[in-house]
């Protein structure tokens, strides 16, 4: 097989849109590294920043692109195509030479430490690959690695300060990591898909949710329920349902986050969420071992409020997507609800639908907003920052309302556009809040008139689009004879 075709192999598992987007992004990223190197040419040999950048690039590249080879390898195994299977391995080896060995060689030629560069790039690529191809419960720990590099300095030598010390622990760790990846790779290729979600590699879970190309898969949710362990399954509380309880009836029929649960099931879900939240705190605790935890935590308050602000906005996406799926399935809840007697008249059902779908998430967003404002008040953030922080929940609530209304009102808007709008909103929140926080010296960059003007225009555009969509959705919903019409 020609080298070009071998190099193209991992990309074949991606949809065209994803392939183009990822290709361009990585090409730009890759181009940025030598540019940065050229700018710092004089101190280059002594600057481990370039190696670090290359390792980060490798991590992202292997996680997002080369890990896709696992899907191809699975298909090759299932379709009994051994030659394709072998080509996939050859292609990965080729990519390892190009993205790990070659940069290390170049860096050593330029005067850097070849062993450190090789180890760091291999570790970066391995972490990316581990995130995507190890079982999700292991892969998720890769997300905490940046924290280790920031906080574990006292007891874990980093390449910038102690290259030899770094090699002493990183080389065996990298080797073990790759052996682990190879072992799970082999079993993932051969095993049937009948695995529960936590044990499936993230790359396979993402594929199952059809994030690549089609975001409106009808079977994704059913598949998730099917794969979920029984004890993790939320158990619905059917009490107080039936005629006369329209909102509750609809919450049951819509499923998802707003579904009424039995007390034991609710407790179980809360415990799971708390346990998941405890993991980062535990990792932070380990990383700050021997240092005062609370003061460190409060020192990170900027990031905490930023996280809460962003989370309250991100929360809008899941219920909006759920609603979109409901209104895209002609054989599911729509006909059942449309013909169910005793739900109430059309106007009442429309009102109740909005309540059932919006209130649970809006309440959660309000809680997050209060928590965020509480932290902001505790660390004496000024009013300007607090207002910027409020943009997160405000965007989340508007986005949720707009997206819910366009689904309920039968407004046709492509998945891609909706997704792009959400990404635009989240980027805007991230940039605005980060620029407002005092992370870059005493003066917040957002207070510079030019920056403020650009931000204002960007925000006005976002809200104008969202409000226009909400208006169209509302009009569509009002005009519908009943809200459960199939498109």
């Amino acid at each position: 097989m020609k080298i070009v075709r071998l190099l193209g192999l991992p990309w074949m598992a991606l949809s065209r849109r994803w392939r183009v987007g990822t290709g361009i992004s990585f090409a730009l990223l890759f181009a940025a590294i030598p540019v940065a190197g050229t700018m710092k040419w004089r101190g280059f040999a002594g600057t481990p920043g370039i190696v670090h950048a290359m390792a980060t690039f490798d991590c992202l590249f292997w996680a997002l692109t080369l890990s896709q080879s696992l899907l191809l390898a699975r298909e090759a195994h299932r379709l009994r195509l051994p030659r394709l299977g072998r080509n996939i391995y050859t292609s990965l080896i080729l990519y390892a030479l190009l993205t790990i060995a070659l940069p290390a060689l170049l860096l050593s030629w330029l005067g850097g430490n070849a062993e450190v560069a090789l180890t760091e790039c291999a570790l970066g690529a391995g972490l990316g690959m581990a995130y995507a191809t190890l079982p999700a419960y292991l892969g998720v720990f890769v997300c905490f690695v940046p924290m280790l590099s920031d906080h574990a300095g006292p007891w874990l030598p980093m390449p910038a300060r102690l290259p030899d010390g770094f090699l002493a622990w990183a080389a065996p760790c990298t080797l073990t990591l790759w052996l682990l990846i190879a072992s799970f790779w082999r079993s993932n290729v051969r095993r049937d898909l009948g695995l529960i979600r936590g044990r499936r590699p993230i790359i396979m879970n993402l594929r199952m949710q059809a994030w690549y190309g089609n975001t409106c898969s009808n079977n994704g949710e059913v598949e998730l329920i099917r794969r979920r362990m029984r004890w993790l399954q939320p158990e619905v509380d059917l009490r107080f349902s039936g005629p006369g309880h329209t909102v509750r009836n609809l919450r049951i029929a819509m499923g998802g986050l707003g579904m009424p649960l039995t007390t034991s099931s609710r407790l179980k879900q809360v415990t799971i969420i708390l346990a998941s939240t405890a993991i980062p705190l535990l990792v932070m605790g380990i990383a700050w071992h021997g240092q005062p935890f609370l003061s460190n935590f409060l020192r990170s308050s900027e990031l905490l409020v930023f996280g809460l602000s962003l989370l309250s906005a991100v929360l809008a996406l899941a219920p909006a997507q759920t609603l979109r799926h409901r209104w895209n399935r002609p054989n599911a809840e729509l006909p059942l609800l449309a013909l169910l007697p005793g739900l109430g008249d059309s106007a009442e059902v429309k009102r109740s639908l909005l309540q059932a779908n919006l209130l649970p998430t809006l309440s959660l967003q309000a809680l997050l907003m209060l928590a965020m404002l509480g932290v902001a008040a505790a660390v004496h953030m000024n009013a300007g920052i607090r207002i910027m922080l409020l943009l997160g929940p405000a965007t989340g609530a508007t986005m949720l309302t707009a997206f819910a209304l366009i689904s309920l009102g039968g407004v046709r808007i492509g998945d891609g556009r909706q997704f792009a709008l959400a990404i635009y909103g989240y980027l805007l929140i991230s940039i605005s809040v980060l620029l407002a926080l005092p992370l870059f010296g005493s003066q917040s960059p957002i207070s510079i008139p030019g920056v403020a003007l650009i931000a204002a225009v960007a925000w006005a555009t976002l809200f104008a689009i969202l409000l226009r969509l909400a208006q169209r959705g509302w009009r569509g919903l009002r005009q519908r004879p009943h809200p459960f019409l199939i498109q």
């Binding site: 059917l238 005629p243 049951i252 029929a253 002609p330 449309a338 169910l340 007697p341 005793g342």
Partner: protein, 298 residues
Amino acid sequence: MNAMLREKESVAAVPLAARGLTHCYEGSNVLRGVDLALEPGSVLGLIGRNGAGKSTLIRAMLGLLQPLSGSAFVFGEPALKLGDDAKARLAYVPQQPEALAWLTAQQMLDYVGRFYPRWDTEFARKTLERWKIQPNKLLAKLSPGERQRVDLIRALASQPELLVLDEPAAALDPVARRELLREVALRAGDSGTTVLFSTHIVSDLERVASEIAFLHEGHLLLRCGVDETKERYGRLWLPAAKSAAAPAQALSRRRHDDGSLSLVVERDAQGRWPEAAELPGARVDALGLEDLFVEIAE
């Protein structure tokens, strides 16, 4: 005014009626002015090829989608604005039901049952048992056939006066299919339930349907009693030399390589075949339901 009143009275008498339904998806017409009405107690089998518009017609007739033009009525009420009374008398099972996947079969039946005044809990329990469906299993974890059966139980337990089934047997094994058809026939015979079901399995129609309606490319091509079809429709074969004399009215028309012509023709009001059938060399063959379907659909 009088005409409107007459129309209102005429639709009130039938459980399900459609007038001039037209609908299109992405620019292509799926329904082209379909008129259809079901007599009380009848079992109408709606037959047509995949993509003929059967599901769309059913959805439009039940007010589940808004047609581009035309109107539909259920027990005399506009389908798009059904009241609780009409909804309680109606049950619909979609093709490949997917609703409420996060509930168990029992939870789903408990939940839905609360809304129907004549809900038969005992029937639901016994039928779940008879059809060997685990009541505590999540609907998402049932096979497509099991899921379809749970939805059929849901529909039947509400004791509907009008039962609408969209490809009810598509995911069922032969035994389950036979049981379903028996249940449908029983309901129609004993309780006088009106049934509309769509299918492309001709043998199912022959088993239970009293009437068939054939939908082809958005048009309702024929509508008659199942027993009537053999008598009423036939295949007229004309040799090449006589093909010019073929009748203009035919349900289908196919020219063979040797120039001869095959047409599906219908007897007139006096029970006579078209005149061309009398021509020398012409021949009329009887058509079974399946042959008739294939001849028209091809």
